[in-house]
Amino acid sequence: MSKPVIATTSLAGCFGCHMSLLDIDERILPLIELVEFNKSPIDDIKKFTKQCDIGLIEGGCSNSENVHVLREFRKRCNILVSVGECAIMGGLPAMRNGIPIKDCLRVAYLTGPSTTANTEHLIPNDPELPMMLDKVYPCQDIVKIDYYLPGCPPRADLIWEMLISLIKGKPAELPYEVIKFD
């Protein structure tokens, strides 16, 4: 039997959830034996090369590129897991929801105390820069999500238990102590 295939991505997140995955520490070695990684920042595969069994999503959707990648993951992964608060509910980046984006840009580039030399009132606007969405969306607003792992970030033990149970097709044993919302 071939190994289960895993793909991961970070959308509008801080990479803390990927760091928490790395916090399984030395268990990374048996994990490499158990599974095969496909598209993931971990292994340099930039485009899906096959259908995957498990997709791990960090971060919500803040721009159209995030939406595009999330839809691609839904298409190419049989099971999709929202990992962490940003994927589940937008997380901290969603604090910009409800604030006009122009206001955010004004504070960053025009009125900040260390942009005093910006006398031309320049706000980055080059065609090379992508457009943002009106607000930050949780992943389940865009595609169907199969499982949710809470936490900011979810603890390494929670990610590990979830992966092992999905790989082995067994119900996850998740003691109260490993499920946290901070």
Partner: protein, 484 residues
């Protein structure tokens, strides 16, 4: 016919950063730009929040070095709650924070060197991209990979013990810290089962420095001649000129080593530093006001710190520092790839610092918090793994934040990274019709030496994903490649 080459990172970054290179009719590079294409608006959306939320809130900028933001925010709030800067805290609070910080430097530098940079060296810059990563490393050189994994783990455990969580902790509070280290925790770090104890970490750190020096001996041309350009350098230093990653005064030197910022109080940073806004990047360009936009830019991070500090206050790292400085005859080091050497010396210094702090009795007992007269604003600086990090907050009478200004480490390195891209493009792409994989990796290696945290994370694993498009002068696509 002029051309434009676009290099676009796409995965983690999914459009956070990309490079464009313009060539003239003769294939000469005329313009290069590293665009940071993500904008999040932290400085605006924290307005209105209670000030004491900042250390736990703003660290969510970055899951790779959240401790740096956690502590920089706490240091700014120390000033606001009247606890002063640095030495104003109780010995326990300052030492617990330092332990947390050196644990952070240790884990983040370990991640950068072992997980990210060493595969380039083990497999070669032009090695097979399919194996040139941490998984390939684990299969080819398990000993090195395991050391990297366990060193990162030790640093993360130090953070957990001091901050409560490995990622996005809560240890530092305005005016102090919220806990001691327990005696059991301390003993575990000092005498824990092999390899997770302070002595083994020092030993492995020394081995990593030696590994690099050996590599350097065999690859001098690459390490010494890759992306070399004159730069100013800036960092915090202790008042006596020693390297200090947690607290100090602000110093900058020019490419010849002359001081251009004379150990100033960072509460006054706005007197010395301003940021230029350019239309083509969301990341601003900081510079020293006195020298102006075009000449005032500077490098931060390991390279900057080893160029500004007079000495390192731990014995093993000091010995390595002397050898490192002798290599450039005491002058500032402007070789981008020496950033890795400097980073490893800092890993060794952090390992020594962790042990020194762990055996200090103030860690397990003593007062935790200092109180004073409240002020309406404060500035907190720290040397994050990637360089000097600035947090500045102003509050109103209801304890709400009304102004936040953040200059993060990678922003400080904006111009140096652009210089590195320019250097590599000129040397590898001039006159080329076709883009090859080694050229793509060459650009990456130049950027990667700076360990950039575009969105504080972009590059953390393996190589950056790059997309190259070659355009003619009418912006018609004539060649396209994507690394996969």
């Amino acid at each position: 016919m002029g051309r434009k080459i676009t290099i676009e990172p796409v995965t983690r970054v999914e459009g956070h950063g990309k490079v464009t290179i313009h060539l003239d009719d003769y294939g000469n590079v005329t313009q290069t730009r590293l665009h940071i294409v993500e904008f999040r608006g932290f400085e605006r959306f924290v307005q209105g929040r209670p000030y004491w939320e900042m250390p736990v809130l703003v660290q969510r900028l970055c899951g790779i070095c959240p401790v740096s933001h956690h502590l920089a925010a706490a240091k700014a709030l120390d000033v606001i709650v009247g606890a002063g800067t640095g030495e104003g805290l109780t010995p326990t609070a300052e030492k617990m924070r330092r332990l947390m910080h050196y644990g952070q430097i240790f884990q983040s530098h370990s991640l950068h060197f072992f997980h990210l940079a060493s595969p380039d060296m083990v497999f070669g810059i032009d090695g097979d991209p399919a194996t040139r990563n941490i998984i390939g490393l684990a299969l080819k050189n398990p000993e090195l990979a395991v050391q990297g994994v366990m060193m990162r783990k030790f640093g993360q455990e130090i953070i957990r013990a001091t901050a409560g969580k490995k990622i996005h902790g809560t240890g530092a509070i305005p005016g102090g810290i919220n806990k001691h280290l327990s005696i059991e925790e301390r003993d575990e770090f000092l005498k824990g089962a092999d390899p997770l104890n302070a002595d083994r970490m020092i030993e492995w750190s020394q081995a990593a420095v030696n590994w690099f020096k050996d590599y350097h001996k065999k690859n001098r041309d690459f390490i010494d001649n890759y992306a070399v350009f004159p730069s100013n350098h800036l960092s915090l230093v202790r008042k006596d000129g020693a390297m200090d990653l947690y607290h100090g005064v602000l110093r900058a030197v020019d490419p010849e080593g002359n001081k251009i910022l004379h150990d100033v109080d960072y509460q006054d940073y706005l007197d010395y530093i301003d940021e230029e806004v350019r239309s083509w990047s969301y990341m601003k360009f900081p510079y020293l006001k006195e020298l102006g936009k075009s000449k005032g830019w500077y490098t931060v991070g390991p390279l900057g710190r080893l160029n500004t500090a007079d000495f390192i206050p731990t014995p093993l790292a000091q010995k390595e520092f002397e050898e490192y400085k002798a290599y450039t005859k005491g002058k500032p080091n402007n070789m981008s790839m020496h950033m890795h050497w400097a980073r490893l010396i800092e890993i060794l210094h952090s390992a020594e610092m962790m042990k020194e702090l762990l055996i200090d009795p103030d860690i397990v007992s003593g007062e935790l918090v200092t109180k004073g007269e409240k002020r309406n604003q404060g500035v907190g600086l720290i040397e994050a793994p990637r360089g000097t990090l600035f947090h500045h907050y102003e509050i109103n009478g209801k304890d709400q934040v009304i102004m936040a200004n953040l200059i993060v480490s990678t922003t400080n390195n904006n111009q140096p990274m652009n210089e590195a891209v320019n250097y590599v493009a000129k040397n590898y792409m001039t006159g080329q019709d076709e883009i090859t994989e080694p050229m793509m990796n060459a650009v990456e290696v130049g950027i990667r030496a700076y360990d950039p945290c575009l969105s504080c994370a972009t590059h953390a694993f393996g190589q950056m994903p790059l997309e190259f498009s070659l355009f003619n002068s009418r912006d018609e696509l004539i060649d396209f490649r994507r690394r996969s």
